[in-house]
Symmetry: D2
Subunit: 445 residues, 4 copies
Amino acid sequence: MALLDPLFGWKPVDDIFAEDVTVQRMLDFEAALARAEAEAGVIPEDAATLIAANCRAELFDLEDIAAGSAQAGNLAIPLIRELARKVAAKNERASGYVHWGATSQDVIDTALVLQIREALILIETAVIAARNRLGELALKHKESPIAGRTWMQHAVPIVLGIKFAGWAEALNRHVARMRETSARCFALQFGGAAGTLASLGDRGVVIAQALAGRLNLALPVVPWHTHRDRIAEVATVLGLLIGTLGKIGRDISLLSQSEVDEIREGSDEQRGGSSTMPQKRNPVSSAVLIAAATRAPGLVSTMLAAMIQEHERGLGVWHAEWDVMPELVRLAGGAVHQLDIAVEGLEIDRDRMRTNLDATFGLIFAEAVSVAVAEHTGRSRAHELIAASSREAVRTRQHLRTVLENNEELKQYLSTEELDRLFEPAAYAGSSATFIERVISSWSE
Amino acid sequence: MALLDPLFGWKPVDDIFAEDVTVQRMLDFEAALARAEAEAGVIPEDAATLIAANCRAELFDLEDIAAGSAQAGNLAIPLIRELARKVAAKNERASGYVHWGATSQDVIDTALVLQIREALILIETAVIAARNRLGELALKHKESPIAGRTWMQHAVPIVLGIKFAGWAEALNRHVARMRETSARCFALQFGGAAGTLASLGDRGVVIAQALAGRLNLALPVVPWHTHRDRIAEVATVLGLLIGTLGKIGRDISLLSQSEVDEIREGSDEQRGGSSTMPQKRNPVSSAVLIAAATRAPGLVSTMLAAMIQEHERGLGVWHAEWDVMPELVRLAGGAVHQLDIAVEGLEIDRDRMRTNLDATFGLIFAEAVSVAVAEHTGRSRAHELIAASSREAVRTRQHLRTVLENNEELKQYLSTEELDRLFEPAAYAGSSATFIERVISSWSE
Amino acid sequence: MALLDPLFGWKPVDDIFAEDVTVQRMLDFEAALARAEAEAGVIPEDAATLIAANCRAELFDLEDIAAGSAQAGNLAIPLIRELARKVAAKNERASGYVHWGATSQDVIDTALVLQIREALILIETAVIAARNRLGELALKHKESPIAGRTWMQHAVPIVLGIKFAGWAEALNRHVARMRETSARCFALQFGGAAGTLASLGDRGVVIAQALAGRLNLALPVVPWHTHRDRIAEVATVLGLLIGTLGKIGRDISLLSQSEVDEIREGSDEQRGGSSTMPQKRNPVSSAVLIAAATRAPGLVSTMLAAMIQEHERGLGVWHAEWDVMPELVRLAGGAVHQLDIAVEGLEIDRDRMRTNLDATFGLIFAEAVSVAVAEHTGRSRAHELIAASSREAVRTRQHLRTVLENNEELKQYLSTEELDRLFEPAAYAGSSATFIERVISSWSE
Amino acid sequence: MALLDPLFGWKPVDDIFAEDVTVQRMLDFEAALARAEAEAGVIPEDAATLIAANCRAELFDLEDIAAGSAQAGNLAIPLIRELARKVAAKNERASGYVHWGATSQDVIDTALVLQIREALILIETAVIAARNRLGELALKHKESPIAGRTWMQHAVPIVLGIKFAGWAEALNRHVARMRETSARCFALQFGGAAGTLASLGDRGVVIAQALAGRLNLALPVVPWHTHRDRIAEVATVLGLLIGTLGKIGRDISLLSQSEVDEIREGSDEQRGGSSTMPQKRNPVSSAVLIAAATRAPGLVSTMLAAMIQEHERGLGVWHAEWDVMPELVRLAGGAVHQLDIAVEGLEIDRDRMRTNLDATFGLIFAEAVSVAVAEHTGRSRAHELIAASSREAVRTRQHLRTVLENNEELKQYLSTEELDRLFEPAAYAGSSATFIERVISSWSE
């Protein structure tokens, strides 16, 4: 739905999958094939030149190609027929060398690989940028106390920097994944009618090598028409990336709830408004991140389901990839783009973080108190005592410190100085600074 | 991907989700709202008239609306702003009554419901047509023997009509499901900012009633902004339908394999050709049916995952529906359309069905022989004897009948007349004719 | 994983899918089949009596049956073999009538349908109980103000009752769905080797009718071995139900966050504790609801994918249902059980609801103010003015009312009485009470 | 469902996820933690010794632990409580050091990682064995002609070895993936209450390092409680592997159809029988492979959906992993096990392969004829001519060669010798042998 592309997409990635670009990538394959075959002496040089000269998407009527696909069952057949017709208009004989030795799937798969590669370069760059920015934020906030929350409840104080470091480190792992995947998966598809390059006699592998070289793709050890693990692997890597983006979007949206309000997406006057409520500042980027993460699992599962392709060419299952894979790449692009927007504009309210830490009657300090008491009573007894004091604090709406100070047993164990120390969030950083430094240095090595 | 719409889609359904039609359905809501509110005396009559007059999609720049969605987080905000601007150009005060009392989700959801309803009417009609045609084929072939196949192995002979009856009856259940779902799910969305119609004071329900009437939608007992079971139910019903279509596509493709070749999709010279192999007649409709069935589970699972919408409006999860739901409806439309094409053009080769029955050394009659022998030996012993004879037939490449005739023990139990009867596929119809008649009469009542 | 059954499951439902009960349901089919066939004179009365007498799961070694399934590819074959052996030990001839005319899938499918039916009765009852309890809560809180939240931000005030009414009404729709589905889907499976009941000659449908009667199942118009829409429909209906349960779990968890704290799951001293943090009261029921809703979409999508079953018996796709469908039913059971626990124990803090309404500088009243101002300035101008005032309130940390009172233009439009009215949340109930009454009466009719 | 474990599972992998082993892995974490902390001087040596001595699953009542999980929301809390109780029975003070500084998720996640690692070692070994065996088969059949099939139709002749090479090479890529994933994902989880190891002061990272060393796991740069990409990545890698296994299972099942019958799963008298049809030899391994491939996409999508975990510990989404991840690993184990069985027992019928090649009126040679004719007429004209001849061959049930010989135009281009060459499948090997050698050498380097 193009209407929503500006919201969910990222133009540079969307453009890679535009109709004319898709057709151009298919034509790039045909041009490179003709040239590689001419080079190998398999087709005449002048035929190759003429074919390549006609491999320009702007010469083709896309609606005709699209209509032809309904009869043919794929886009390659009408496109190649039309290419041959154009070549034939100049040189009948040359037109016989169009698509020589190749099959529809060769051109469709290779074009898709070319598109995915282009997109992944953009996506990786954007992920690295967000990772680096988050790394800076992690360092900046390595001593900014904030409530640590588990089960969506206050747990113990942590520092904001450790959140950012966790996000950044996850992004860094995705960069590593994208690189491993790129090395394995950006491979030429070229096998001819049933994967043996039979119509090229003994010249098949030589031409394949030259073709791969021209397209700057890896030459696979064997054509992979019905072995879809390469394409599906890219899908899973994007699915994993989007999962992390969704987690970040969820965290931002939780931290920017009206009652929490510690972090907000940046905004200008237009962004995130409501049609009825003048005060609204909706977290649009978070919404896009969460939407992408809601959709990606279904798309990845489709790509996995579509791996079950029969014999030498899949029936229907291969077809299922054609809309799904570009959609997933575009979704990843859009989400990464929104992450960049969100991280760049992030507004952080340290005062509110501090206020929220204090808002729960001091209960967030209960673990620390319990650890301290445990040295006197053992761990189970301490846990029981502090759990009871916590319930009393909630019931009576008193601060936990007050309850502790009024408890006959506990005041034996807890001096005023000890309590001062225990109720100071800065004391809870633990290994945070070390972790943050480990994160940053892990990717700058 | 519009390039593939002619292959995967069905134009009448695709058109319902065209960009301008989507915008028009949203404007239909706004026009009906203004009129209902004027009728109730809540906004001035002339404002309503002016608003309604501007609710024509062709007056709007869709690219502007699309671009605005990136800031606003949905399509409604930029559309309504633009509508208000158009109205204000004529009458500043009237423009204040645009979208009065409604929220973005009211218009977006209601427009989607209107689109889905239109599409389901087309889909249901096509399903009924295919069902009826299959019913006729079932009757026609109620005595045409064909191999029954389980685990993709010959099992026992059946008749072709029972296959068609099974397909038809499944389609009939989908018709019932679509009707039940339509009655429950085609409901107005109208709740205002947070679902209470607060800004309409005590006139909320009256206006909602009038609005529902104008759009010919059910009035739900309460607005359903974050209760997505209605929309998700439609998704599941379409998912179920597509599952059946995929089963039919799989069966056709299996029956039309080169080695089976009992049923073929119709073809003309263009349809289902190959870019390299002149003899190819690829089953294009089956491919589309299977592709749809490969994709639908992921789309349905996304719609189910998207049901977890927070509080009074979902964040991101609602957004996830926007591309997914139309895609699923379009997929269903395209698949139903291909079913119609496939069923209409179906070529049936009774001779080949018969040849294939005989091709497996008579093993397909083994169950019947076993039942007959069981009357003499008990069931386990009979099963053992015939299993051994079957293995011998395969090993020695003799017909099972020959093996039986040469077996000392078995020939006591099996006379020549008995063997004639047992190796006659027509004897295997069992209750097929009854079942076929039950199927047809189940929907004609 | 049985270790987690007490957490994720509901014992009455889990018990239905216990190993011995599964085997018993299969034996129930065999017993009923033998009796129906004896009744029809197809097998001897004494054979049927002997077979039925041996159809008791406690007589069977489940490990043997399980081990046999690895060779046979399903549970029915080793079970029936063992049943025949037991019968043969008493009467060799009678053993030949075990499973007469049926196929493995007949018994496996029918047993599953029997189990699902038992479970759905329990689930429906629990859903109705929760619905009714929520209905009472809706009435009780029909005037309890609470922040309406959209995009996880304060929107406008609503009442708590409308939340409960929305949950209850969704549950009520699920009751309707379960009933429609039950009527359509609880059908006997009985078709013999390839769905024609061929080995029963012309007695097939008569016996099927009698068998259906004995098992109190509907007699389908035709066997449905590879038409899985019935089973898959049950899966989708449970998926929809779980989606609503997940939405309720999410809402409860959001409302019980430390900073919101308006609603809490009930607790005793043990429930929801932490291994380290003595103050923790984790929302265990919400976790189970959300876990179920996270898992259900994948399970439903598998059931939809498994609909593509070949010819007269699916290969592998049918097998895929065997663990998945019981798991989904059990998940639904566990989730419904936790809903009951959660709703029964719900603690509601009206004071905190009120405090939270006031916590955002009065911004939650901005829409109402805007509507009031619009009567003087038109809607766009009012929206602009109040948006600017809202931003000022946030920036200067003043209450919105104060900002309005200090604005030269706005104070012309807004008298003190008007402001009193506008900043009173009780004035925002809108149509809430009407909606709540409509909900309750919709299911009590 | 344990009843089906012998069919769907692989005992060595299933055993890793047995209840007592799961508990033992959790206790392994606790024992190693205590020892690492004693080593670092954080807890007393004798406490660590006593704790470690009690970390034996056989000392625990698993039903009690399971029951406790329903209150606590996870297995760790009741297990640790019980462990502390056992230690306290010997030494009250020592019991206070149980689980010191750790949180429930630390032990649950680490135990899961340990289990997955054990399982992946087994799975990888089995995949390599299958790959090697397929490699041998590829070499053996590098000149065995078989029909290449695309769209489930005969395309051109290929050799059987190229099928095996394609399967083997895909398996080899999965080995590479498993290794990359293992290096990245088998990482300790240890972060304490909210991921900062706060209660260990400045000793956190030192202890983490020692703990990782004792468990032979990588030390992650930062705890990863709510960053699930590691676990989810393992899920995706298994999903990809299972996808390939499903493709192999589908191919085997297609090749072993009664009408094709070129390849069969091995069988003994019991395997793959039917309850009614004595001749049946059902492909049980293929069924398990396809069943796994039908289920894996849903499980992977759940793991991806479960990545959206809130703040420092997920609510419900984390819980969703607990049954799903072990299930997926077990499914992979079972499928790999069946692949090994299937490949080891594979029966290959070269005669039937040859017969099938000839069964389609010579149409499978149409592409080659077309290429030959194209040298005289150009490619489009040749395609047209041969397409027409192919249709004539089908219509008149003559061999394509006969049609060609009778065609006035074509017989000018095609001499008898030429036709001999063109209708010889061995001439179609193309680059098959080279591809097969490339595959084998790609993994033996």
